[in-house]
């Protein structure tokens, strides 16, 4: 479904991504794990065209994503939940969700998706007219995910959804990711919390300073000595 082939990204003279290739099949949860600065966020931004690649190909459903402008990527079914949530702080919860469906015109379907989001995140329903900036970190993460779901995506790119959350919320968020996937949305998950990410995903890629150093089914990586030593020790 999503195919990244020999991707290179530069920040000025810094070569941040040095020829990364991976693939996400429909219905899967694929995770990219790696420490801070490995280039996980950069890859997601390159997919959603927020950053320009310097070489390589990114194709989604056989379309080259670099033919699209960043604001058009969502039209073909790619929805990106950025690192740090990035909810619109002065808009209400409802307005944030409406923005998620910005490009859509099918009002009845939008309403259906809104109910689905409320069903999945009852707390958002309780706070529907609250200003998003006043939500707690966990609620903001739910809003960010809910907002992305409002675009009715085929694939959801999640960037560090567990960052800065209390352990109990981390578990809740990962459960929700599994549920979203079970309901039919393919997921590309970027995480520092390797343990949780490997537990819910089908396939994993380990990223180190711009290169993929290890990949395989998540279950195997969970038992890999190198992965254990580097990412699961804590």
């Amino acid at each position: 479904m999503l195919k990244v082939d020999n991707l290179h990204v530069h920040y000025g003279v810094i070569h941040a991504i040095k020829g990364v290739s991976f693939e996400v099949n429909e219905g899967e949860i694929v995770t990219l794990i790696g420490s801070n600065g490995a280039g996980k966020t950069t890859i997601l931004k390159a997919i959603s065209q927020l950053l320009e690649k310097s070489d390589g190909d990114i194709t989604f459903l056989d379309k080259s994503l670099s033919d699209y402008k960043a604001h058009d990527v969502v039209h073909i079914g790619v929805s990106h939940v950025p690192e740090g949530r990035h909810v619109f702080p002065d808009l209400t919860v409802l307005e944030n969700l409406e923005m998620g469906a910005y490009y859509r015109k099918d009002k009845t379907k939008i309403r259906e998706d809104l109910y689905k989001v409320f069903y999945r995140f009852p707390r958002l329903k309780e706070r529907v007219s609250q200003i998003a900036g006043t939500l707690s970190g966990g609620e903001q993460q739910m809003l960010a995910i809910g907002r992305a779901l409002m675009s009715h995506p085929k694939i959801l790119l999640l960037d560090e959804p567990s960052m800065g959350l209390a352990p109990i919320l981390v578990k809740e968020i990962f459960d929700i990711i599994k549920e979203i996937n079970a309901a039919g949305t393919t997921i590309l998950l970027v995480e520092q919390n390797a343990n949780q990410a490997l537990h819910i995903s089908d396939k994993a890629y380990v990223l180190e300073t711009g290169n993929i150093t290890l990949s395989g089914p998540s279950k195997e990586l969970l038992n890999d000595e190198k992965v254990k030593a580097a990412y699961l020790s804590a």
Binding site: H86, E95, S151
Partner: protein, 294 residues
């Protein structure tokens, strides 16, 4: 008391003009964090447009059409300025864009002088100015029209910004551009729309200003532009409601100073106020000092 009420009405008149112009400053600042110093010149061009539509056509356009056409062309001018001068600098340091804005302001003043000459045009009245008597006060029809139309457009703007989809997208872009892009919002179009609306309202302010003082000249936008900028800072730059409140407060402070202190002190007090605000409450009346939540 009679003097006070009379001055209050005058203050609301001037304040309406400042509020209309301040909205343009605050909207543009809200969306691209730029103080658009060329905004006073949009106001000036708006007045010239109105003059041309009102007096240089072989037939007489109705007043409301003169206003709407002038606002439309000012909106186009605003979009053009952004696309030509500011767009390329969006990722540049903010000081570069600020200097460009000052350059654009001077350019437009001299462009106007080239086209229209330095001699002021006399703005004949476009509306019936005979006073109306309300509660024993004679109020000029122009004053009523200025206040009324200003409030009408401000309500229209508020409805647009808070109730419509493009209005919400505009707020979204001003709060988080990158997230807005991910929603599929075309940020360039929203920025153009912001310049268009701000410029149209600025032009309306310019037309009322020209009608109040009966003159149009290339540098007419400088002083009211600066005062409207102070009004925007006073109300909290980036806040549309703040710009409206700030505009009316500056207008009232100005006329009260004229009436009770001395007209010589007006600019001293208004510009002194800017310094006081920046010292004690730089975020203004409705502005926010939000702390980032991690």
């Amino acid at each position: 008391m009679e003097l006070f009420i009379r001055q209050l009405i005058n203050g609301l008149n001037t304040g309406s003009i400042y509020a209309l112009v301040a909205i343009g400053y605050t909207m543009v600042y809200g969306i691209i964090k730029l103080i658009n110093f060329a905004h006073g010149e949009i106001m000036m061009f708006g007045a010239y447009f109105a003059f041309l539509f009102a007096f240089s056509l072989s037939f007489q356009l109705p007043f409301i059409l003169v206003i709407v056409l002038s606002m439309f062309f000012a909106a186009l001018l605003g979009i053009l300025i952004e696309r030509v001068a500011y767009k390329k600098l969006r990722k540049a340091p903010r000081i570069s864009a600020l200097i460009t804005a000052i350059g654009m302001s001077l350019f437009l003043q001299h462009l106007a002088q080239l086209i229209f000459g330095a001699t002021p045009y006399v703005m004949k009245q476009l509306v019936d100015t005979t006073p109306v008597t309300i509660f024993n006060f004679d109020i000029s029809r122009l004053t009523l029209l200025t206040i009324g139309l200003s409030i009408f457009f401000m309500i229209l703007l508020s409805l647009f910004v808070y109730k419509t989809k493009p209005g919400k997208a505009m707020r979204a872009v001003s709060q988080d551009k990158e997230a807005a892009v991910l929603m599929g919002i075309n940020v360039d179009n929203i920025i153009s729309l912001t310049f268009a609306i701000g410029s149209a309202l600025g032009a309306l302010g310019g037309i009322f200003y020209a009608m109040t003082y009966s003159q149009i000249y290339p540098t007419m936008g400088v002083l009211p532009g600066l005062k409207a900028f102070i009004a925007a800072v006073f109300g909290g730059i980036g806040s549309i409601g703040g710009a409206m409140i700030g505009g009316y407060l500056i207008g009232i402070i100005e006329t009260m100073t004229k009436a009770y202190i001395s007209s010589k002190w007006v600019d001293v007090i208004v510009f002194g106020l800017l310094i006081v605000i920046l010292l004690f409450k730089p975020s203004g009346i409705l502005g926010k000092n939000r702390k980032e939540k991690v």
